[in-house]
């Protein structure tokens, strides 16, 4: 057997073997395998496509959510500012009412103090007059004797108008 001379028997055996292998593999392996590969490719493509669709949908939803969020935020801000304005108004009203109340109370106090003061002065005057009268009475009772009385009466008479002539 020479290295470079073809051998018809071996050529035939090779062709027979190759064809048998080809037939067996085609029936048992390549057919189902290539079908399975195509199927897998299809399912992967489907999965990618549906993932793309889902992503697009999610983007739309996200934009929607963001829009709603912005709306809600502005609404909340508006509510808060309205509430603040209302509270300020109420506070001012309360303050004004309290001030007025306090002034009225003070005024009333001043008036009653004035009245008390006047009453007290009147009372004081009467007391003082009574005491002066009492004291005068006591002095009169103590100081009046015959001589002085006579002197007093004489002086008095002397001082009467016309008594000198």
């Amino acid at each position: 057997m020479d290295l470079l001379s073809p051998h018809p028997g071996l050529i035939l055996w090779t062709i027979i073997t190759f064809v048998v292998v080809l037939v067996v593999l085609k029936a048992k392996v390549w057919g189902p395998l290539l079908a399975a590969l195509d199927e897998r490719e299809r399912s992967i493509r489907d999965a990618l496509e549906s993932a793309d669709r889902a992503r697009a949908e999610a983007l739309v939803q996200q934009a929607d959510h963001e829009k709603r969020l912005v709306e809600a935020e502005s609404q909340a801000r508006q509510i808060v500012s309205e509430a603040r304005a209302a509270a300020e108004k109420v506070g001012q009203q309360v303050m004004a009412a309290a001030k007025e109340d306090a002034e009225r109370t003070a005024q009333r106090a001043r008036e009653s103090i004035q009245a008390e003061k006047r009453a007290a002065l009147v009372e004081l005057r009467r007391e003082v007059a009574d005491m002066a009268i009492g004291a005068a009475g006591a002095i009169l009772n103590a100081e009046l004797d015959a001589e002085r009385n006579r002197k007093l009466a004489d002086d008095f008479i002397a001082d009467l108008p016309g008594a000198r002539n």
Partner: protein, 269 residues
Amino acid sequence: MAADADGQVDVVGHILDHNSLEVPFINAHHVFDGHIELPQFELFGIDMSITRHVVMMWVASALLIVTMMSAFRRPGPVPTGLRNFLETILFLRDEVIIPIMGESGRTYMPYLLTTFFFILYCNMLGLIPYTATATGNISVTAALALISFAVTQGAGIANNGFFGHWKNLVPSGLPAPLLIIMIPIEIIGMLAKPFALCIRLFANMIAGHIAILVFLGLIIMLKSYFVAPASVVLAAALYLLEIFIGFVQAFIFTVLTALFVSMAAHPDH
């Protein structure tokens, strides 16, 4: 590997086909050098002996069928185990064959995949000790090239009609005098393609084996232990290269066949 008394190594004899198998552990006197004779017979005047390379081809085919069928037993959508590995080789389909041949390549896919794996398994089987490389036999590669040639011509005829196919041999619109030159050139070119396929695979397969054998044979020829480390290291490196070449040559044979088939089917490209 046979080494005779005066330290000569029969390198080419190892490459050649034989009517016997080398089997270890069957000969009590030469433990690693047993032989099993194979049947020799003729059919219709052709020597159809079952030679060593025929047996190796059958072993490779059996291994190919068994591994493929076990790997793709359940053709579900999710690959597991061995199938994962084998499917990586199916990049041939998406990255090579379809780009070369277009969608019509799907028709030839079973043939091309079988060619690739058949050559690959034969190449790889030859790397195991006591086996032989069937694809290192010019008759085997010639047969594979003949099949490739037949598929190529068949694709041309199927796509362009019988006469259309032969007319496509020569580019259309040539002046008549040129045809006298062009027709023989194109016929030679048509025959040169399978011839090149045959010789390329054959030569690549025996080259590495011869180089490995020569390196290892040096130990015996020089009768020196000091040669052994260098020889073994170089032979091991070549062995790894051989694994690579086994893949590359199967790939090249398949890709070129796809190219030829595509050219025959669509000559206008």
